[in-house]
Symmetry: C2
Subunit: 459 residues, 2 copies
Amino acid sequence: MSGKLLLPEIIELIDMKDFKALKEIISEWHPADLAELISDLPESQQFIVFRFLPKNLTSTVFDFLEIESQKNILLSMGKKEVASIINELSPDDRTSLFEELPHHMVKNMMLLLNKEEREIARTLLGYPEDSVGRLMSPEYVSVKEEMTIEEVLEKIRKYGSDSETLGVIYVIDDDGKLIDDITIREILLSSPKKKVSKLMDHKFAFLNATDDQEIAVESFKKYECYALPVIDNDGFLIGIVTIDDILYVAEEETTEDIHKIGGVEALDDSYLNTSLFELVKKRAGWLVILLLGEMLTASVMAFYEHEIAKAVILALFVPLIISSGGNSGSQATSLIIRGLALKEFSFHDWWKIMKRELVSGFILGLILGIVGFARIAIWQSFSGIYGPYWMSIGFVIMFSLIGVIMWGTLSGSMLPLLLKRLNFDPATSSAPFVATLVDVTGLIIYFTFAHMFLSGKLL
Amino acid sequence: MSGKLLLPEIIELIDMKDFKALKEIISEWHPADLAELISDLPESQQFIVFRFLPKNLTSTVFDFLEIESQKNILLSMGKKEVASIINELSPDDRTSLFEELPHHMVKNMMLLLNKEEREIARTLLGYPEDSVGRLMSPEYVSVKEEMTIEEVLEKIRKYGSDSETLGVIYVIDDDGKLIDDITIREILLSSPKKKVSKLMDHKFAFLNATDDQEIAVESFKKYECYALPVIDNDGFLIGIVTIDDILYVAEEETTEDIHKIGGVEALDDSYLNTSLFELVKKRAGWLVILLLGEMLTASVMAFYEHEIAKAVILALFVPLIISSGGNSGSQATSLIIRGLALKEFSFHDWWKIMKRELVSGFILGLILGIVGFARIAIWQSFSGIYGPYWMSIGFVIMFSLIGVIMWGTLSGSMLPLLLKRLNFDPATSSAPFVATLVDVTGLIIYFTFAHMFLSGKLL
């Protein structure tokens, strides 16, 4: 179970061309460990190890590989080997591999599929991207309600070997319409003579082939199941989706959220597999928009130029004030975006959330305001740097902190809710976006308090 | 399948005390839909609906409920009902419920368990928090290698009804040590007379009861399985963990990451279930630390006070410069934190990542620098606001943007890697943390370029 530890030894065996020892070692490994080993090897050596796998394991190991390694190995293979691998791949895994391959490669591979598999592949790729159809496998076991458990077990034994899962068996009527699902648990625990109809409760969850994959993720969470049947618009059973594919979709969605919170457009691939050009492209857009937004700070500052010239000391605290607002905004926005993603609350709870954030913001602002005031008082007592009006300056800092932090929590929490309401992705309300928003308004808050406390003194 | 849509109607039935109609409607629902309905109801009405559930569904629906609703319903129940519910709960779900209940409630409930269940509950709660033991169920089916498939099916039929899963059957030796796992698929597809030993390959993945739950999440991902056996230090099979509990753990870890990226300490509960006091506590710590960090900006600004007094115009661009650095840092840190979480790369790839980020940072900086310079050139041509040295000012802005953005991407990407290397959580390198770091150094970069281009002119 420790692929990583043995990596250098394996590489040495390959370098020494000691393929006998290599073959012997890897024959004892779990397919998942073998897949991990292959992914960790340099690209040029991946195919070497793959070639020496025990014959009965190649397609299992291939299934476990990440798509990058799958691609790499396919490119090193002869036509015949490619044909055998992709014909044996399960239909849903094949769809997700084809999705990642360049168009001309998919075209060539389609020709290598046998007639039946090609038909299946073409149908699945015919569903829109990000739809349930793309995750679906048409291989499942279906039974009729008049069958006995014994007959069901017999049917599984005969036809079940290709089925994507044997955890759930589907009951269809004579037309092929889905009428119930029965778990293998119920079947195994029933006496062999019992009829399927006796186990039925006509309560079943299902997906539609054209549903968005996000809906599938939600359904799997809600029904806490390992597989869900997929029907077409007329209720006919056309396939199943299993939880492993759903996990991958859910993980991708979360990655997208995290990237967006950081102010990056969602990458299509992993960080290291994304080209430098793509990486810059996904970041430049938001950075430029944010820069244009930040330019408003220069305008606001220019508006108060006269005050700054009179009391340069005001400029010193600008970064501190605006950053504190941005930080509290980041906190609020990440709390709310995640809560929305987990469906802990919805837009309708905005008033409850606003109250919480206003109170939290006030307390947080008060704490930071007191720390800020203390900082000025302490520096003053040591150095007298702030002059006779140090206390007024302290109050400006304190009240500004309270103001910008309340404003930060408020906009950081309400913006994602508002985006959700307008059917945008709430995660677009990224930490940098909220920070920029708070920077501009934060300056206005700051200089307003400065006017209030320092007019006739420093101003 | 549409619990949410019917919510107002259900509430109306409760208000009208039309329990007969209520009972009739809910008797047709899927347990997961019933659980969703109950969770969506106001707390005072949850128990009413629960009471009218078909008797054979109560424990299934209770299992589907979120822990908050479970708690609420238990509190509304009599002792006898509580006893029946918690004795029927599966051991792993009971552990996670007990984890969330106050100590005195757990103590009372322990007394309501029958002897056998109490023993199980006590053992499971004896494992450290966040260990695999806390997710474990001791209910599984184990067989010996000399048994036939027919005998296995017979054993499942007799003893399998309590088992947490029937998807995998475990083979143990005469001492009770785990020696293999066999999927129900292999069993169902084999002829009844075959011996278990013929199906064995002695390759199996497992968890240790004292392993951290994070390890469990990784193993489930790697082996793409629905259940894993748990052994003790001597290799004895003591329980199993199923994927539904793992999904919950994985989701919690991601939530923690997202909160940390936003600069919030991980909440123990969902946002709305967290008390206001807790919410402030989880945010105040970081905000104060960041404020103390930001105070360095005031010191840096004070150091350049003389320059600002001479050329107030310099102050105007301070927010713009430092925020741009913070934004590019947020982007980098969220990309790297997520990549680390998904194990797309590790600390050892730091050099590869650093090169990418330096190049990306330079290009991004150049783009923003040009936009910044253009902004000044355009304003100048309209208003002449920046005076005779506008081009030098433009260069200061341009080169500062290149500098701070490169510095932002560099520290945003290297900090999470460094934290990981030092065995801290990389997500601690939050967007606000990186922004604060970049603010302080960004000011130094800015004023250095100002000196370079404006000495003898404005300065």
